[in-house]
Symmetry: C2
Amino acid sequence: MDPATQLPTVGMIGAGQLARMTHQAAIALGQSLKVLAADPAESAAVVTPAVTLGDYRDAADLLAFARDCTVVTFDHEHVPQEALKALVADGVDVQPRPEALRFAQDKQAMRERMGSLGLTQPRWAPVDSISDVEAFGLPCVLKAVSGGYDGKGVWMIDEPGQAQAVLASGIRLIAEERMPLQRELAIQIARSPRGETALYPVVETVQTAGICTEVVAPAPHLDEAVAEAARGIALTVANDLDVCGMLAVELFQTSKGLFVNELAMRAHNSGHWSIEGARTSQFEQHLRAVLDYPLGSTETAAPYTVMANVLGGESGGPRLDERLQQLLAEDPGAHVHLYGKAVRPGRKIGHVTVCGDDVDNLRRRAARAAQWLTEGK
Amino acid sequence: MDPATQLPTVGMIGAGQLARMTHQAAIALGQSLKVLAADPAESAAVVTPAVTLGDYRDAADLLAFARDCTVVTFDHEHVPQEALKALVADGVDVQPRPEALRFAQDKQAMRERMGSLGLTQPRWAPVDSISDVEAFGLPCVLKAVSGGYDGKGVWMIDEPGQAQAVLASGIRLIAEERMPLQRELAIQIARSPRGETALYPVVETVQTAGICTEVVAPAPHLDEAVAEAARGIALTVANDLDVCGMLAVELFQTSKGLFVNELAMRAHNSGHWSIEGARTSQFEQHLRAVLDYPLGSTETAAPYTVMANVLGGESGGPRLDERLQQLLAEDPGAHVHLYGKAVRPGRKIGHVTVCGDDVDNLRRRAARAAQWLTEGK
């Protein structure tokens, strides 16, 4: 608690774009987010004064960081369980709790738990040899049990040689069936320690090469029974796993219903639309949840909101500043969010959001805006 | 220009709440606002890493601050003309230019210029003695020619003794007639160096003891002819004075039409509603204008948006954190903005915004929300 402002201090482990956008939300709540960064040039570290440099895998670094924080939360799920437990043992208020976060860190534990909750999910099995993979059946997907993100740690396997290359890395793997999809959906829910929950609308997510490139909120033409099923899944996972903060459940929509794909217990790319598209953004909602504040309204602020991610383009061509000006001239109603990162091809360097009534037009506008920033034309 | 991000560096002289909210907007544009603060505890200084401590009246401090800025702009209008001109002489891109800013700094120069533009304004005269004031006629308003804000530098004069007390201070003064008002309005316009302009809707502003306490956007039940007149005034002032950045024109609505009250060439309390209520907030728009970026859409995001200022309450009672939680529980759709300032009675410490259809209900909600934070009940 800051004695001058009479307001809490939230510490976030990790200083990527999620922390950066959380800092914007923290400012509105009278705070200044404190971040643990590996490098002073990280996305959030360049916009907040309260930066601690340290290693998120090191319990001593975490303890020193956490000392004056009202609550500690996360920009990513990579903090080891032993380090988290050391924080809890030291009396730090860690949200979500390590026991919950584990299911966002370990895909095998998550699959086992989803199964025991009776939630529909792709057929899966742990694999550690080529004979395991062949017994599971090809084609399949191999996933690293931990550490993956943005398509990293996920391999599409059509033939044994591809599986062998992945198995050679020695990391823990599970195999999953490749589902015939209608589309991918996601649903976010906030939950606070007192057990209050707030559901956001089901959104459609579009992935390109494993990276989320477009989100449409709410998912167009969604059958109300499917939406209700998604809300039921989100509530079950949030309550049963005792989640605190934002939870994203990624779902496959198929002709046989919804299948649970992935979980994230933090702000998530599928919720960036909420900054302009909902009364309470996912970033403010996460802060409210981990502080056990009352949760905010998730009512939408427009009939449709579309978000497109901006990936870094090839080097050469106009500077990012010139690309930005072209985009602003082309679409005066586009909301631009740049992450302050050095531009590298394929790297997420920002996103663009548009709000309105005509979803097809919004999708074209968002894609065009992202293209301006990526390709400069 | 930051070499890593390929994006500009904006320097803001002053580190109050306007700079704080501008920093939030700068983050979205891929920047981190650089501020010149008098004290490290100032509202913007506690949320941005790029803080220079210095005196805004000192040309050497300003020059050192401005060195690596793409453009320098303002959180307040108190930088002396000589210091501004030293910056310009050194090649710094100062926006708005000193020649324009002068009319927001010097009420006598402003009144003379409004008169020469043929704009309707209260009858006024420079005064420097009690006989001047008596010749002008009582009751009247005395205003400090420079340095006033939030009701400071404005005195309601009913009898000569009150005028004498103000005259005794020795500051430059003008007298203005006290207008029989229907209500106060304000209009904001952004203008960029290339001459592009963007008008926001006319809003109603409510003042309490000289401090803006409520803004309703757009002004309810406003005759379209009056709105058109307000837009004409804003365009005339912005273009004729060669304003760059945000301009606010405060207006008296009377039975005889609109009268120009005050000008501000920066983000303004009458535009805080735009953070949630318009496609482009006044803070982002100011950045876009001073960078000569294309301006953003000023389309409203809701039929009505109401903002209420939060003033610091008497000491005692619940901590601000507890008051905030009470408010969040009472109104899950309220947007809260706290400025990170120590609480002192009557000091602006934040504002609350609500968006929706029913303006009377929104006004009640906003007033109630502000009351929770001020009085804790």
